[in-house]
Amino acid sequence: MNGVHDMGGMDGFGKVEAEPNEPMFHEQWEGRVLALVRAMGAAGAFNIDTSRFYREALPPHVYLSSSYYKKWLLGLEDLLVDKGFVDADEVKAGHALKETKAPRRGKFTADQVERIMVRGAFGRPAPAPAKFKAGDRVRARNIHPATHTRLPRYVRGHVGIVERDHGCHVFPDSASMEAGENPQWLYTVVFDSAELWGADADPTVKISIDAFEPYLEPI
């Protein structure tokens, strides 16, 4: 979706402000939200792409004015309600009122923590040969799906060079909709700054994205 989360190249957000000696969490509840999201994901209630989609789908002014972990909480609440793991009445009441819908992998318990401290593996066997190889010129397709995609707006329609081939990976556009993993070839595609930002762009800058094969067309 062309949401406000897709902010590469936007103006108006001001300077980057780094906080010296920033703590891992600014409030105790932030760690709790992180743990809840990781635990419910590990229990099989959702995959990472679905959880991203729910954060992106927050109303834009909420997305922009909420802190990071607040967005995580709001997205998690929406997702759990939509998928039937929690009822909106339960969220209001603050405790369980309805039957449990078993998540795919069952209750998340403490002995599984070590497993989730390594990032999930998204590489998959290739269902078909790669269409592109390093050195190929490709155009990022001008697509505007209403659903989740990982092709940012700022590259759509623009021409870049395939630089690396990462093999086949779970396709977020499908996984986010719970429509299967639908593995696709993944490439690093690099763009000149002038191609993306026009003739006035800094000529010393190149920008790459990691693009799934359906995002690209040959030229």
Partner: protein, 216 residues
């Protein structure tokens, strides 16, 4: 413009994390959701405690720093790291947690690398810990791909005007670790000494390693 000076409606520019009342409301709300999920048997509080403890104790930029220091002292490891970072790091006994498709990108005198996730907050957690707020916030995400030199200026970092800047937007499950240039004056240093110089920001590409003798 509005961002650049003290404007009368700065009170409208707040974000949630600046409001005490908002925070206690959030605490209540998070606690409520945890109760529901616990009562329904999806999670157990001890598992949540263990997740938080693992984030707080087991990951962090010290992991990345050891990898960088090793690459600075061991040319074969450096080669292997640049070829397949996941595989190369997997051979190190002391860094057991590394996900698939980690990519190490090397800074040189000619090219500086910088990593961003414009769409959300993708970041090599196992190597660097949880990302700082600025990495996840709109100013960095919006500007890194269009004005990386301006972003570097916000960090007090200046590069020669002819240095190529390569911005890596983390739009998939690949993750990027910048291998910064080894500081001058560190000849003969041990891996452990070198690792002390490697900052988190130098592995994102928004900073440099510390110079030898600089305050730690």
């Amino acid at each position: 413009m509005a961002q650049d000076h003290d404007h009368p409606h700065d009170d409208d520019h707040h974000h949630d994390h600046e409001h005490g009342s908002e925070l206690s409301e959030m605490q209540i709300r998070v606690r409520a959701l945890e109760s529901i999920l616990t009562e329904k048997g999806y999670v157990e509080p001890a598992a949540l405690d263990a997740i938080i403890e693992a984030y707080e104790t087991k990951i962090g930029p010290h992991n990345g720093a050891r990898v960088v220091a090793k690459a600075w002292t061991d040319p074969a490891f450096r080669q292997a790291l640049l070829k397949d970072a996941t595989k190369a790091i997997g051979t190190l006994g002391h860094v057991s947690r590394v996900g698939d498709h980690l990519v190490a990108v090397e800074n040189t005198a000619e090219r500086h690398n910088m990593v961003v996730c414009t769409l959300c907050s993708c970041y090599p957690w196992e190597m660097l810990g949880l990302p700082p707020v600025w990495y996840k916030a709109a100013p960095y995400r919006s500007r890194a791909v269009k004005d990386p030199r301006g972003v570097l200026a916000d960090f007090g970092v200046t590069l020669p005007s002819d240095t190529e800047i390569r911005v890596w937007d983390s739009t998939a499950e690949t993750r990027f670790l910048v291998l910064p240039m080894r500081p001058n004056g560190t000849e003969g240093w041990s891996e452990q000494q070198l690792a002390e110089l490697v900052t988190r920001d130098s592995m994102i590409g928004t900073g440099f390693p510390k110079a030898p003798g600089s305050p730690s």
